[in-house]
């Protein structure tokens, strides 16, 4: 395949950054999008230029590290797919492809296509867990979990924390990420004692980190590579409202 890539290049957070055009030929349609970028980088190195920096690790769609906006869409055109699992056969020969980093106030660009997503860790730190010290856990079978709850919790827990939801949202909101965790833990009996405090502290941290408010545009679920649905945001809002009404935390 022949391709024209327009890639966002930015040497450091202070640099203004710009789109730079590269031409590639001889790309295998079986290559993944990141393998295509590997080929570009090998070429740049051979020409004595700086390769493009981008984040990636598992290349199996599960670590959440890869993060590219491809032709304006986080993780590219294929639904329910991470960038590393997007294959070139989904593009046309001769196509012009734009490649940019996640764009969001809470995710500053570090270099080229790499952004800082540590705000997500801080949201989890503020309550995205169940307090269960090691070595004191009760026998696993002592608390049955209805299968529908366990399955629904699992589906929410599938969130890979990539941040595509934030990049897709016109307000830069992380409500889907937050809702996924609130839903996962809130559906398990083990998650009940901290349920209300969790909703309040996680949402407070979310706002403090510079993520925007959710206005239910739904772009987040379209971009989510794991198909997490808007219902998790409903749950987040519900828990938050009930918790605030009950005077939790604050």
């Amino acid at each position: 395949m022949k391709l024209t890539l327009r890639v966002w290049r930015q040497s450091d957070p202070q640099d203004k950054g710009k789109m730079v055009e590269y031409k590639l030929d001889d790309i295998s349609p079986d290559a993944s999008f990141l393998e295509m970028l590997d080929v570009l980088n090998e070429k740049l190195i051979a020409d004595g230029s700086e390769p493009v920096a981008f984040d990636h690790d598992c290349r199996e769609g599960i670590c959440g590290m890869c993060s590219l906006v491809i032709n304006g869409t986080p993780h590219g055109p294929e639904r329910n797919t991470t960038t590393c699992q997007l294959h070139m056969r989904k593009f046309k020969d001769g196509e012009v492809i734009d490649v940019e980093p996640w764009r969001a106030k809470a995710f500053p660009v570090v270099k080229d296509l790499v952004v800082d997503r540590s705000a997500f860790d801080r949201i989890i730190q503020s309550g995205g867990y169940i307090t269960a010290p090691t070595g004191t856990a009760p026998e696993a079978h002592s608390t049955p979990v209805p299968k529908p709850d366990a399955d629904a919790a699992f589906e929410a827990a599938e969130c890979i924390g990539c941040g595509a939801c934030v990049a897709a949202c016109p307000n830069g909101s992380a409500a889907l990420f937050l809702g996924a965790k609130i839903t996962h833990l809130g559906l398990m009996p083990q998650g009940q004692p901290e349920r209300w405090d969790r909703a309040v502290s996680m949402l407070d941290t979310h706002d403090d980190e510079g993520f925007g408010g959710c206005t239910n545009t739904g772009e987040c679920t379209v971009a989510c590579p794991k198909g997490i649905g808007l219902d998790v945001i409903g749950r987040l809002n519900g828990d938050y409202l009930k918790a605030s009404a009950g005077g939790k935390k604050k």
Binding site: D30, I62, D121, T134, F154, A157
Partner: protein
């Protein structure tokens, strides 16, 4: 034979295992370990490298216990550690199925599955602790698969006949890691754990022969910094990426372990690599990694190839009686569920006979049509849907309509830094947990046991032994000279890599090394091939240090520099792996030596000559490594020839 390649050193004892019946040893050891009072724990500092299942669970537990923990990983978040990718499941001897499982059975099968090359005492402890792991993870809210009655579901996994594998669809590693990550984040919030993502450990700070800290590079701005502590824990994962193509995440590397090795930590059984039978075959030269299809697929998928060589027909056009369900034929009692080494080699054999399918003839079918007929498409979809989707995305073929194609790939490394029963390496104060150590899996890890080991080490074992070391040793502040020396080593190496300015990319070296390793030190090894590798690797290493091109500067985010450092270490490790493989003139587990097979072509172990752990010492660049042997004693599970027929 190979003493031209290595020196023989002193034998090593199986350190710190208490005497007495195997069931009591761990309790005894825990009781004898010295405790530290809670008020003092806060003043004790522990550095942990890695945030996978091993490191994450250790950090959460040690933080909870009150230590001051500093924890590092090279990804942007601890949640992205390679453990996240584990698909199949985690074993535990809960006997929830009432199918005769027990701690003793899990212990027995793990020793046997390791081909009698692991330590009985460690394996017993692992089997015993496995039950607590499930309790712990459930308490943290890990959404394991459940039955309609609300109780935990189980399935069976390669190499076992009981259902003892707990799972969360095809994403068990993800869910277990998120559990550990969340527990770790809680400790970060509580101020007990300080977190350093995007930091890479590049050397150890050594003083008086002890590990006293680390030198790390901040991967965002390139700053080289040092951190000191009372003890250092490596939880840095496995080194399968020495093969370039493997199922490991792209960043997985050996640097932390290798740097420690160069300071005296013995490297045990480096050649023990597990090859996984169910991976998606290679499609072209652009390929950067291989993708695993969970082993659980073998519960319902049937493996076959055409009976005739070079049969080009579409699978659907090949009638039943012209198909060879070779695993069911050769191993009737285990069938498609034989252990990984056996399944892998059987696939290689049929492909070598010219009966392989797909591009280049390097593939076999994994066929679900029977299962779809028997259970219905919906049931199959519920069980394996996400795996089928992943397969389709990568290959462009729909596995509901046509059988999957699979081929073996490098997956896991059973070798690693040598540790005693306390998980301490031969460098005092340096503890090694998870895939980075060598301890529990012998020559062939069975499925679903690596997750179990990572969590056993991190949640339960290390937290009960590291206190003994810290309590017993006076650990004064580290001298500036020791810190400066370590920092100097790191800066020198970075400068060197940046100054070569050659004409070959880092990746091109990595690919070439991987090719040599797979060709000569892969699934099947011969003396001749291994000797050939010993000519190729040093030459490649020399070329690397002359011709590698590392673009950019040290003081910035520089992914080429990161890779270059890792590949440089792989180039040294690769040679040691080959020497280890060469000296072990027997077949065992995933290590098949062509010269050592029985009349039926099955692996022939040689317990009399090789019933030991090979622990290698570093003796300087260009100098021969030193082989220390730890003799393995089997008091409970008597070595027998493994047979799955």
């Amino acid at each position: 034979m190979s003493d031209d390649l290595y020196e023989l050193g002193d034998p090593i004892a199986d350190g710190k295992v208490p005497a007495g019946p195997i069931e009591d040893r761990w309790t005894t050891r825990k009781f004898e370990a010295k405790q530290i009072n809670p008020a003092n724990k806060r003043k004790k500092k522990i550095i942990i490298i890695g945030t996978g299942l091993a490191g994450g669970s250790a950090g959460a537990t040690l933080g909870e216990a009150g230590y001051h923990v500093q924890q590092f990983c090279f990804q942007d978040s601890p949640r992205r550690a390679h453990s996240i990718a584990a698909q199949g499941g985690i074993n535990a001897a809960k006997n929830y199925r009432n199918d005769g499982d027990s701690v003793y059975r899990l212990f027995y099968e793990t020793v046997k599955g390791g081909d009698f090359r692991s330590r009985e005492s460690n394996v017993y402890r692992l089997a015993d602790i496995s039950r607590n792991i499930i309790d712990q993870c459930v308490a943290q809210g890990v959404p394991f698969a459940r039955e309609y009655g609300g109780l935990l579901d189980n399935r069976s996994f390669g190499g076992t006949q009981v259902s003892r594998t707990f799972y969360a669809r095809g994403q068990t590693g993800q869910q277990l890691l998120l559990g550990a990550y969340q527990a770790l984040m809680r400790q970060v919030e509580a101020g007990n754990v300080e977190l350093f993502p995007r930091h890479e450990m590049l050397d150890l700070i050594m003083e008086d022969g002890r590990a006293r800290g680390v030198v790390v590079r901040n991967l965002i701005n390139g700053e080289v910094k040092n951190y000191t502590a009372d003890a250092v824990v490596l939880a840095s994962g496995g080194y399968g990426n020495v093969y370039f193509l493997s199922t490991n995440a792209m960043g997985s590397n050996v640097t932390a372990s290798w740097r420690a090795h160069r300071h005296g930590a013995l490297f045990a059984n480096p050649c023990y690599t597990q090859i996984h039978p169910t991976c998606i075959p290679v499609s072209g030269d652009h390929q950067s990694k291989l993708t695993l299809m969970s082993e659980s697929l073998r519960n319902d998928g049937r493996v076959w190839v055409p009976k005739k060589a070079k049969d080009e027909r579409r699978p659907a056009d090949i009638p039943e009686d012209e198909r060879d369900y070779y695993l069911e034929r050769i191993y009737p009692s285990f069938g498609n569920l034989v252990p990984r080494d056996i399944a892998s080699r059987a696939a290689k054999n049929v492909c070598d006979e010219g009966r392989g399918v797909g591009p280049g003839g390097l593939g076999v079918y994994l066929d679900f049509s029977d299962a779809i007929g028997r259970l219905g498409r919906d049931k199959v979809e519920a069980k394996y849907g996400n795996l089928f989707e992943m397969y389709e995305r990568i290959t462009g073929e729909n596995p509901y309509d046509t059988p999957m194609r699979i081929y073996p790939a490098v997956h896991y490394t059973m070798g690693g830094l040598w540790v005693d029963y306390d998980l301490e390496s031969t460098v005092p104060g340096l503890f090694v947990i998870g895939e980075a150590n060598f301890s529990d899996h012998g020559a062939n890890r069975l499925g679903a046991s690596a997750l179990m080991q990572g969590l056993a080490d991190g949640y339960f074992v290390l937290p009960a032994t590291i206190n003994d070391y810290i309590a017993k040793n006076a650990l004064p502040p580290v001298a500036d000279t020791a810190i400066a020396e370590a920092q100097e080593r790191v800066n020198g190496r970075i400068d060197k890599l940046l100054s070569i300015d050659g004409d070959r990319s880092v990746d091109s070296f990595h690919r070439e090394l991987g090719h040599i390793m797979w060709e000569y030190c892969g699934m099947e090894r011969t003396e001749e091939g291994l000797r050939k590798a010993l000519e190729l690797i040093p030459a490649l290493r020399e070329e690397f240090w002359k011709r590698v091109k590392v673009t950019g500067k040290g003081e910035e985010l520089n992914q080429q520099l990161e890779k270059a450092g890792r590949v440089a270490d792989f180039l040294e490790l690769g040679e040691l792996m080959v020497i280890d493989a060469l000296h072990r003139a027997e077949s065992c587990g995933g290590h098949f030596r062509a010269e050592s097979q029985d009349e039926e072509g099955e692996a022939k172990r040689d317990d009399d000559a090789f019933g030991y752990v090979a622990a290698w010492g570093w003796s300087g660049e260009g100098a021969k490594p030193v082989l220390h042997k730890e003799t393995l004693n089997f008091e409970y599970v008597k070595p027998t020839q493994r047979s799955y027929k």
